[in-house]
């Protein structure tokens, strides 16, 4: 039987100086090859949950850890952070904070050299990763001359060169404009579909998540509030609102129309679907 990429059982975690549990009783399975989005208000536990998947919790951030987290079958408590982080590559929100080199090429080499990848393998890994993200042309540029979107692609590329089985991203588009944000999500979706890479994305931009992920997890106060297909989750707009999460506007529209007894069907999550919905309601009248 193939192992799940991530499996947590009765996971609870409280940071060393924390008053309350950051994660409470999380039971979660992420299969290999899934593309999962996680949303929730600040302090809901999204980043903490990601940290349990790359070993940062409990190895870097100490605290009270209960339950179990298995990454590709490996218990994150019993295995070193180095071992776990080779399975799961992480990209963060703060673009400049995660860069260590001056040149794009050096940034990619940094991880490879640290992992002790044999010299004759390095060149092909660098090329492959640059191609996957579509930034071969940026290889010899200085990082400071790049735009935010380009820098985030470099961060993604440097991680991909290490060939992780799973990508963990913490608000990767927070500092990016709509177009660059779309590009990052398109790359992630392609990696997921073509390479079968498991991708877990914490993201505040609900419209992007609605467009790109199948499964959406909503967190509130350290617990999982919803874990289902995006469309199902978005039906609960009131509960989402109370959890500090907004809906795409077309979903709010369909919910408003449903409340007024004008519409019964599933919530549209794209513009095309919304257009069809309105035209169906008003057939012949516009």
């Amino acid at each position: 039987m193939s192992k799940a990429m991530v499996q947590t059982k009765e996971l609870c975690f409280k940071y060393k100086d924390g008053k309350e549990f950051a994660l409470e009783n999380i039971g979660l399975t992420i299969e290999k090859g899934e593309l999962v989005g996680i949303i929730g208000s600040s302090g809901a536990g999204k980043t903490s949950l990601l940290y349990t998947m790359n070993g940062v919790i409990p190895h870097h951030y100490r605290g009270d850890f209960y339950g179990e987290v298995l990454v590709d079958g490996l218990d994150t408590v019993d295995n070193t952070m180095d071992r776990i982080s080779r399975l799961s590559g992480s990209v963060f929100q703060d673009i400049d904070g995660q860069m260590v080199a001056t040149l794009v090429e050096d940034e990619i080499l940094f991880g490879l050299e640290n992992y002790g990848i044999p010299r004759d393998e390095i060149e092909s890994r660098v090329n492959e990763a640059l191609e996957k993200v579509g930034i071969t042309h940026l290889r010899y540029r200085t990082i400071s001359s790049l735009s935010g979107g380009e820098k985030q692609k470099v961060a993604l590329c440097a991680i991909l060169a290490l060939k992780p089985q799973m990508l963990l991203l913490d608000e990767p588009t927070a500092e990016l404009d709509p177009q660059s944000s779309q590009q990052i999500f398109r790359i992630l979706k392609e990696l997921n579909e073509k390479e079968g890479l498991t991708v877990v994305i914490v993201e505040q931009k609900i419209m992007l998540l609605s467009e790109f992920v199948k499964r959406l997890i909503v967190m509130e106060k350290g617990k999982i509030l919803f874990d289902d297909e995006v469309r199902e989750v978005l039906k609960h707009s009131q509960a989402l609102y109370e959890a500090g999460v907004n809906c795409p506007r077309v979903v709010s529209l369909s919910n408003a129309l449903t409340q007024r007894g004008l519409y019964k069907g599933p919530a549209p999550i794209h513009l095309d679907e919304a257009e069809t919905m309105v035209k169906e309601i008003l057939h012949g009248k516009i």
Binding site: G40, S41, S42, G43, Q93, S147, G148, G149, E171, A174, E175, L176, D177, P178, Q179, S180, Q204, M207, G244, V245, N246, P248, R249, V250, S252, L253, A256, L257, R260, L262, L271, A274, E275, V278, K279, I281, L282, K285, I286
Partner: protein
């Protein structure tokens, strides 16, 4: 309140702003939108004298930013940066609010009073360390420090980056309230839903040029300009455009639902 007259700006021999002219009037809630690198932040920094134009003039309440001290402009213009961590420099909230006030007020008693008022408005415990608080809280602290000086013009550079929806609304509702009381607001952003919900006037910037300046309906309908600026109209505005004439000028969910109901029930518009 703020007037750009044929403003150009460049540094290290590279021009980033080209011949920008516009005027922000008292009580406006203006959004300056555009992609990363379009020149939005540069324009915002030109308004309060952090940057000075290489040619043209920027006038703030009639004062030329080139000949007026930045500290004097600061009495009129409050500036909220995108990243609160580049703004906050003190280790308690009280000291942080005091820091800005000391630049504009001399009377210690008055300063003390303003601090207490501000703490109360925002519900802050003045003794707390800003850096032990969340990003959203730190953004509110930075905003509180700016508002304590009671600026007539408030410039916000991507005020909601890194905030969740609830924090975003908290900040924006406060700004909206100030705008209602007469504060002029200039907000730099690329969040089109935010623009839709709060701004009354929209200026589109692309490649360092002003591409459009008008009300929401005219700007959101201008597909060419939005495309040139790498932006997309907000969802409901885009939907209204697709649905055609009966939905002209609709930008919000409730308006859209009302219009659909009207049409469905055959009532005249």
């Amino acid at each position: 309140m703020v007037r750009f007259e044929a403003v150009s700006f460049g540094y290290e021999g590279k021009q980033t702003i080209y011949d920008v002219t516009f005027q922000i009037n008292q009580g406006d809630f203006a959004a300056i939108i555009g992609a990363n690198g379009a020149g939005k932040t540069t324009i915002s920094k030109l308004t309060n004298g952090i940057l000075k134009p290489t040619s043209g003039r920027v006038l703030v309440k009639g004062k030329d930013t080139k000949t007026t001290k930045t500290s004097e402009l600061a009495r009129t213009i409050g500036f909220l940066f995108q990243n609160p961590d580049r703004q906050i420099c003190q280790t308690t909230i009280r000291d942080e609010i005091m820091f800005g006030l000391k630049c504009v007020l001399k009377d210690n008693h008055e300063i003390e009073e303003r601090i207490n008022q501000t703490l109360e408005t925002f519900g802050f415990d003045g003794s707390r360390d800003p850096f032990s608080m969340s990003r959203g809280e730190r953004q509110r602290i930075a905003l509180a420090s700016v508002l304590a000086t009671r600026p007539e013009i408030l410039v916000l550079d991507e005020p909601t980056t890194g905030l969740d929806y609830r924090e975003c609304m908290q900040i924006m509702e406060l700004v909206q309230e100030l705008n209602r009381q007469g504060t002029t607001v200039m907000m730099v952003t690329h969040d089109m839903e935010l623009v839709n919900d709060f701004a009354s006037r929209v200026l589109v910037v692309g490649g360092g040029r002003l591409l459009a300046d008008g009300d929401k309906t005219s700007v959101f309908r201008n597909a060419e300009v939005l495309k040139a600026a790498s932006l997309m109209p907000p969802q409901i505005s885009a939907l209204a455009q697709r649905l055609g004439e009966p939905f002209e000028g609709i930008h919000h969910v409730d308006e859209m639902a009302d219009r659909i109901q009207c049409l469905k029930e055959g009532a005249s518009l």
